[in-house]
């Protein structure tokens, strides 16, 4: 009775495919610099990779891609094509992987954009999220393509792809670029300034790839009006929304059911510091049923809002003139279509690109509604006990006095 439908946390199924992650290592000439604990950047990275490969969880499929590792020449055109996958994504052969890493020598250019694009191809498409860990010490020397644009484009392609970045050099341009890549894909940025930090962070990211890869949300395209909006079943969806755009979706809700929806819009590009998101549920005729809203200011990753709406509560209103409780099985089971509209109050900074839109994550659930409780029929608390006791005492006293009076009268007669 009290349990209701089984809560979702009971049946969190593991996706069918293993977690997949690719390490992308910059082996450009600048990795020769000996500025991490007196060792060269490349040797620190090699040591970190060895430790990560040793500690790799059994089920994780790991690949390693390098950039700038082979071309020694000066021709930028050739140097900017220089990226190879030295360990294919799959079950890792530890000895082979370590041997491949050990032979790396700092050499060429830094084609980060191309390497990201190739890494996304290496990981393939599938139902779960993929993770790329990018380790670099220098700014991309091959733009265009601008690596940040590449990251945004890859993130918008449908496969859930997260790029975590690690910067080996305390350089402002590198930091800006890596932050941009991380923000565009919902990843993280770390400035690694020691061998321990680098190893620990890569291990953490590889573990995270295993712990947090979930079934990626279904991709849906909301429409500009309610009547032709996609009809959604309960679940998680992802879409893209531009500045000042409205996106409509529809959800069928039967009487006696409750609609629950939430939306998160990711701030994946520089926006003005004050922002908001609005999620509204409306009836098909445009009447607003309920809204969820949130706003904020300052640095954040997503801004979210949610709402609940219960169909039964509205039935009097919807079929006016009829009996307040429709006969079960008759009109009672006809679902109401609720329109959901997501809008945002985000403003681009000068120079921020508007397309593709910002990622939104929409969760929809339809559960049994929880009717409003009636007034309590029973009581609770010490005051109640005192009151009842007092009432009992008074009743006893009155009854006793009456009995005395009655007995006295009866005796007299």
């Amino acid at each position: 009775m009290l349990g209701g439908p089984a809560p979702a946390w009971a049946d969190e199924e593991t996706p069918a495919e293993p977690p997949r992650v690719e390490l992308v290592l910059d082996v450009s000439g600048s990795m020769r610099a000996r500025d991490i604990d007196g060792r060269s950047r490349i040797s620190v990275a090699q040591q970190a990779f060895n430790e990560v490969v040793d500690a790799l969880p059994e089920e994780t499929q790991l690949g390693i891609r390098v950039l700038g590792a082979t071309y020694k020449g000066k021709d930028k055109k050739v140097g900017c094509q220089d990226t190879q996958q030295i360990v294919p994504v799959g079950q890792v052969d530890r000895t082979q992987a370590k041997a491949a890493v050990a032979t790396l020598r700092p050499t060429g250019f830094t084609p980060v954009g191309l390497a990201l694009r190739s890494a996304a191809q290496d990981l393939g498409t599938g139902a779960t999220a993929r993770r790329i860990v990018l380790i670099t010490d220098g700014e991309d020397t091959c733009a265009p393509p601008d690596p940040c644009e590449v990251a945004r484009e890859l993130a918008a392609q449908g496969t859930k792809l997260v790029v975590d970045t690690l910067g080996l050099a305390p350089d402002e341009k590198v930091r800006r670029q890596l932050l941009c890549i991380a923000n565009a894909t919902g990843g993280t940025y770390t400035a690694a300034q020691s061998a321990d930090e680098l190893t620990g962070r890569i291990k953490q990211l590889v573990d995270r790839a295993r712990d947090t890869y979930t079934a990626a949300p279904a991709v849906v395209g909301g429409s500009a009006r309610c009547p032709d909006a996609p009809l959604l079943a309960p679940g998680v969806y992802t879409d893209r929304e531009q500045f000042s755009e409205h996106r409509w979706y529809r959800v069928p809700v039967r009487p006696g059911q409750e609609l629950r929806a939430s939306v998160s819009i990711a701030l994946d590009r520089p926006v003005n510091p004050d922002y908001g998101v609005l999620l509204r549920a409306t009836a098909p005729d445009g009447r607003e049923l309920v809204r969820g809203v949130d706003a904020g200011s300052g640095r954040t990753d997503v801004v979210s809002a949610g709402l609940r709406w219960s169909a039964a509560a509205d039935s009097d209103d919807a079929d006016e003139g009829e009996t307040p409780s429709p006969a079960p099985g008759d009109s009672g089971a006809t679902p109401t279509t609720v329109c959901l509209v997501v809008s945002n109050a985000l403003a681009p900074r000068p120079g921020t690109r508007a397309t593709p839109g910002m990622p939104i994550e929409l969760t929809v659930d339809v559960v049994a509604s929880s009717p409003a409780p009636g007034g309590p029929d029973l009581g609770r608390g010490w005051v109640l006990l005192m009151l009842l006791t007092l009432a009992g005492l008074l009743t006893g006293l009155v009854a006793g006095l009456l009995t005395r009076w009655w007995v006295a009268t009866w005796r007299e007669n």
């Binding site: 009775m1 809560p7 979702a8 946390w9 009971a10 910067g167 930091r175 932050l179 993280t188 930090e197 620990g200 953490q204 573990d207 947090t212 979930t214 079934a215 996609p230 959604l232 079943a233 309960p234 679940g235 998680v236 039967r254 929806a261 939430s262 939306v263 998160s264 309920v290 969820g292 949130d294 300052g298 640095r299 954040t300 990753d301 809002a305 709402l307 709406w309 079960p328 099985g329 006809t334 679902p335 279509t337 969760t363 659930d365 509604s369 929880s370 009717p371 409780p373 029973l378 009581g379 609770r380 006990l385 006791t389 009992g392 005492l393 006893g396 009854a399 006793g400 009995t403 005395r404």
Partner: protein
């Protein structure tokens, strides 16, 4: 809710010095029914203002609502992260509980300027939850080596109108992040300690209603329906018996009211006895 019920039942029984078979039976029958949403099997049900003894330390954090790391009240979290990360955890809450979140962010390395940190709490529908107490967004000066954060939530209600944003049983999300800082400090290592504890005094919530399904988000990938769903087949009359229709729900009110009735009866007898004239010698 089990504990308060048993406690109030025990208190009643002790105070009134009554051994009510009905009350005892009620306690026995209601306790499992009122236990609320079944907690995940792996999470321990612990409630203490300090880390529960024996609770395993969580060393992970998620980076989004969907990937939030599940923790339980009383389970300490200690995780290394980078400045600028948005760290997510989720914990289950039941009606009547009051949760207090305390956290510390320590900075092993020097920073270039002051930074403002924040701990935010969202319910299962990602609706922002208010903090009733605690330093939710403290600022750490450039020389500080750590900063303490805190947030005490409202008591979780057992029922609320769909239009309200009151805290309800289900999943809660905690997000820890830095909201304002000099840009060069991004990416620097930090250590985060966090503890979610249930500080409620175990009092049952004042509401009578009950949420049929806890606010636990559906995390499965959705499916777009192709056509309007037809009217569902007539819903079978649920197996609720006739009695459940008008009898109030099983709750501690039954015990209180029954005890009150018994006390009233005893007091009535006492009152009656008081009016009797002392027996003639």
């Amino acid at each position: 809710m089990r504990t308060p019920l048993i406690r109030s039942g025990a208190a009643l029984a002790a105070t009134a010095a009554l051994t009510l078979p009905t009350a005892a039976a009620l306690v026995l029958t209601t306790a499992p029914a009122l236990a609320g949403p079944p907690p995940p099997a792996t999470r321990e049900e612990l409630a203490a203002p300090t880390p529960s003894p024996g609770a395993a330390t969580v060393t992970k954090a998620g980076t989004s609502f969907l990937t939030a790391t599940g923790i339980a009240a009383g389970q300490p979290v200690r995780v290394g992260a980078s400045t600028g990360d948005h760290l997510y955890w989720s914990f289950p809450a039941r009606a009547g509980q009051i949760h207090e979140i305390t956290g510390t962010v320590s900075f092993p390395k020097g920073r270039t300027g002051a930074s403002t940190w924040t701990v935010e709490v969202f319910d299962g529908l990602r609706r922002r939850q208010a903090c009733t107490a605690g330093a939710q967004a403290p600022t750490a000066t450039a020389s500080a080596t750590s900063v303490a954060l805190g947030c005490t939530l409202r008591q979780v209600r057992s029922w609320a109108e769909p239009w309200s944003a009151d805290p309800l049983p289900g999943t809660y999300y905690v997000r820890l992040s830095v909201v304002d800082l000099p840009e060069p400090d991004l990416g620097l290592p930090i250590d985060v300690d966090l503890l979610v504890s249930d500080v409620g005094d175990g009092d049952a919530p004042a509401d009578d209603g009950e949420l049929k399904a806890p606010l636990v988000p559906n995390t499965k990938a959705g499916t777009v329906l192709t056509g309007e769903p037809a009217a569902a087949p007539a819903e079978e009359e649920d197996d609720e018996s006739f009695l459940t229709g008008w009898l109030p729900e099983v709750s501690s009110r039954w015990i209180w009211t029954t005890a009150g009735g018994v006390l009233a009866a005893v007091a009535g007898v006492v009152g009656f006895a008081l009016t009797r004239r002392p027996r003639r010698p």
